[in-house]
């Protein structure tokens, strides 16, 4: 018990293997219900590639699980602004995702100008800026600018939502 628990500790990468396995199984299950009519013009049929892909994913899932249990570890990606010395900072990521979800919920109802403002303002706040008023003005300007830019320049009408008639 304790040994298996300690083996699992710090092996969050097993989750990746689980995900690969789940996706692989999904692909295979989905492929299984496809009908393959015998056809001279399409001997391969729609099933072949999904079967191969699902198989590939399952094999990868198993090999990755073995690799991780043996102490293998994927290298986290570095970058200019990435500091890997501290652990994942969920206090930044979750509010950021929150701002993103707020935009999804608002965009069709409240319109892009409002949802875009919320998105940018929320993201800037999540990422650590505390100039509330300045950020708000920048957000609103960006949202308005893109709204009119898309409408006048590209002929793409982003949803106006609540502000319909005003904009």
């Amino acid at each position: 018990m304790t040994s298996s628990a300690s083996r699992l500790k710090g092996r969050s990468e097993l989750g990746v293997a689980a995900l690969l396995g789940a996706v692989g199984a999904l692909v295979l299950i989905d492929a299984a219900r496809l009908v393959v009519p015998y056809s001279q013009s399409d001997p391969v049929g729609p099933k072949a590639l999904p079967m191969i892909v699902g198989g590939l994913l399952l094999i990868c899932a198993v090999l990755l699980a073995v690799n991780v249990l043996r102490g293998g570890r994927g290298e986290a990606e570095a970058g200019e602004d990435v500091d890997l010395t501290h652990p994942s900072d969920w206090k930044t990521v979750l509010p950021l995702a929150g701002a993103f979800i707020a935009n999804i919920l608002l965009i069709d109802w409240a319109g892009w100008v409002i949802s875009g403002t919320v998105l940018f303002w929320g993201s800037v706040w999540a990422l650590g800026s505390r100039h509330y008023v300045r950020d708000g003005l920048i957000s609103l300007a960006l949202a308005l600018l893109t709204f009119y830019g898309f409408y006048l320049g590209l002929g793409i009408a982003l949803p106006a939502g609540l502000l319909e008639g005003i904009l």
Binding site: V16, L20, V23, L26, V27, L34, V35, V36, P37, D42, P43, V44, G45, P46, L49, P50, V53, G54, L56, L57, C60, N67, G72, G74, E75, A76, E77, A78, G79, E80, D81, V82, D83, S88, D89, V93, L96, A97, A99, F100, I101, N103, I104, W112, G116, L119, F120, S123, V124, W125, A126, L127, G128, S129, I138, L142, T146, L154, G155, L158
Partner: protein
């Protein structure tokens, strides 16, 4: 002479004021995103896809060409002025370039990088003009079996050669292929992986996938590990070079170009290997070997030229075969499809004016970059000081806007978030991004070729190797896959002697297959040259090997920042 007159026509198209303007917009935008951390040319092109549909295809591709070359230019500026390279192809440039900048020679480092990029870009594009039609001539005679084989090679090579872990590469490829399966099967019309959702029956939009994986994934990943202490940016004036710098730079430029182009032109060539080979070669040939490690100009000039020549080389299979080998080329291929243009060897025939205008605009963009970049270097350096909350909030903002404007449905934004989370996870656990994108884009085309090939042979599997080229390609595939094994056996028999061990060394050391694992995919001639030069500097092994291992992380996302 046909080629020349086509090219002249291309210049005539590309030099109209409007198209020139798009080229300028492209290079400025490209350089800006190349300089800025977190975004790169592939993502920029993806974001601009919905916007570009209102443009003429020719103008759109002229702009994309500018972004493509501009991104390479911008990347070198960042790696010289900051001590952390943002993209795998700039890793080598960053070594000596940043040391030069620290030693007060930032202006010279930027100058040799910019001029070297120009020289390599000009030569590389010329080689593209020469070779692409030859490849096309050869390619039009190929049937579905050969295409299938070549696509398999490209996918496997990108997956198995680049990046630090083959296993994680294949996992990423599998995910990409699975995403590519979503939608109606094009022959039988049956829905695959749509889960009954009508919104999924047209498949996932490439724009949404690319933006999610590159932009949203990157923004979330950086947010989780945002550097709280500002980076040291070395101030710089206008780049310039003295007489001595020119004398020391011009040969490395040419040698770097010679390394870069063939590697870029191969499926899975990438830019890491040639930049590394160029660095090693320059170190060996230099009259000032003692300066290496303290900021030698040759160590910037050569790799930077190799990087840009590889970028030009990559366009050869992209335009001639419809085969992308880096992220930007993959997204550009998706753009062709979006404009209703069929990529492949018939591209030159069917869309000749567009392709030649695109190639002409590469020359023009390359020249514009030189004009724009030398005086504007201080401005680009300022861009690096953009407060990070605004930068990453802006990336999310425009990612959302770009993905939403494709179909104007909030559902796409949900996909964006889910796939963005996938991109985050891939960065966290070292799954390379490039195989996924190539899997998404090449997967459906691969399936089409497979079904066509077997249709021709009436279901007989031997139809897959019914063409000689297909057989040759499968042999190369086998070599790519078996190489690490063969190298391990070789090393077990003859421990650490001679060049081969050098070249194969990093590949067999463990799970990480370093850049030097590539020679087997090379054509024989270049392959031996590559091994020769890598072997030529056994003394470099020590310090560089360690460095390269840590660089393997960067190699994950292919040859460029996305």
């Amino acid at each position: 002479m046909d080629v020349l007159s086509s090219l002249m026509d291309g210049f005539a198209t590309a030099l109209t004021p409007m198209n020139l303007l798009y080229a300028l917009i492209g290079v400025i935008l490209g350089t800006a995103v190349g300089v800025l951390p977190g975004i790169g040319p592939a993502m920029t092109v993806a974001l601009l896809l919905p916007v570009a549909t209102v443009l003429e295809p020719t103008s759109a591709f002229i702009m994309f060409a500018g972004i493509y070359y501009g991104g390479m230019f911008g990347g070198s500026t960042t790696s010289i002025l900051l001590n952390t390279p943002g993209e795998s192809s700039s890793v080598i440039t960053a070594i000596e370039g940043n040391l030069m900048a620290k030693a007060g020679k930032a202006a010279q480092a930027l100058a040799t990088a910019a001029i070297g990029s120009f020289v390599a870009g000009a030569i590389g594009t010329s080689l593209l003009v020469v070779f692409a039609p030859i490849v096309v001539q050869f390619a039009v005679s190929l049937g579905a079996p050969s295409y299938f084989a070549i696509m398999v090679l490209a996918l496997l090579a990108v997956t198995a050669v680049l990046g630090s872990s083959k296993l994680r590469g294949f996992a990423s490829l599998g995910l990409g292929l699975a995403i590519g399966l979503v939608g109606l099967d094009f022959v039988s019309g049956q829905a695959r992986l749509t889960f009954g959702l009508p919104l999924l029956s047209d498949g996932l939009d490439v724009v949404v996938i690319a933006v999610a994986i590159f932009a949203v994934g990157e923004a979330l990943w950086v947010a989780a590990h945002l550097r709280r202490t500002p980076l040291q940016i070395i101030p710089v004036g206008r780049p310039w070079m003295g007489k001595e710098d020119w004398k020391r730079s011009w040969k490395p430029w040419l040698r770097g170009t010679a390394f870069g182009f063939p590697f870029g032109a191969l499926p899975a060539g990438g830019a890491e290997i040639p930049t590394f080979l160029s660095y090693v070669t320059e170190k060996r040939l230099s009259k000032h070997p003692e300066e290496f490690g303290k900021g030698a100009i040759e160590g910037v000039a050569g790799p930077e030229a190799a990087n840009n020549a590889a970028a030009a080389g990559t366009l050869t299979p992209m335009l001639a075969l419809g085969l992308p080998t880096n992220a930007t080329a993959a997204v550009m291929l998706a753009a062709f499809t979006q404009f209703g243009i069929q990529p492949g060897p018939l591209l030159f025939q069917n869309e000749g004016p567009l392709v030649w205008a695109l190639i002409a605009s590469l020359f023009i963009g390359n020249f514009l970059l030189l004009l724009v970049n030398l005086p504007l270097a201080p401005v680009w350096a300022k861009l690096l000081r953009l407060p990070r909350p605004y930068l990453y909030a802006g990336i999310l903002f425009f990612a959302t806007l770009g993905a939403y404007s494709v179909n104007l449905q909030a559902f796409d934004l949900m996909l964006l978030l889910v796939l963005g989370a996938l991109g985050f996870m891939m960065r966290r656990y070292g799954l390379p991004v490039l195989p996924l994108i190539l899997g998404v884009i090449l997967g459906p085309r691969l399936e089409k070729q497979l079904r066509q090939a077997l249709q021709l042979s009436a279901g007989d599997v031997s139809g897959l190797w019914s063409e000689p080229i297909a057989v040759v390609v499968y042999i190369i595939v086998a070599l790519v896959l078996l190489w690490p094994l063969a190298a391990r056996l070789w090393r077990a028999r003859r421990p650490r002697t001679g060049g081969l061990v050098m070249a194969g060394g990093p590949a067999v050391d463990g799970p990480a297959s370093g850049p030097a694992a590539a020679p087997p995919v090379e054509a024989p001639a270049e392959g031996s040259a590559a091994e020769g030069s890598a072997a030529a500097a056994p003394a470099d092994r020590g310090p560089d090997a360690g460095r390269r291992r840590s660089d393997a992380t960067h190699a994950n996302h292919g040859q460029e920042k996305s």
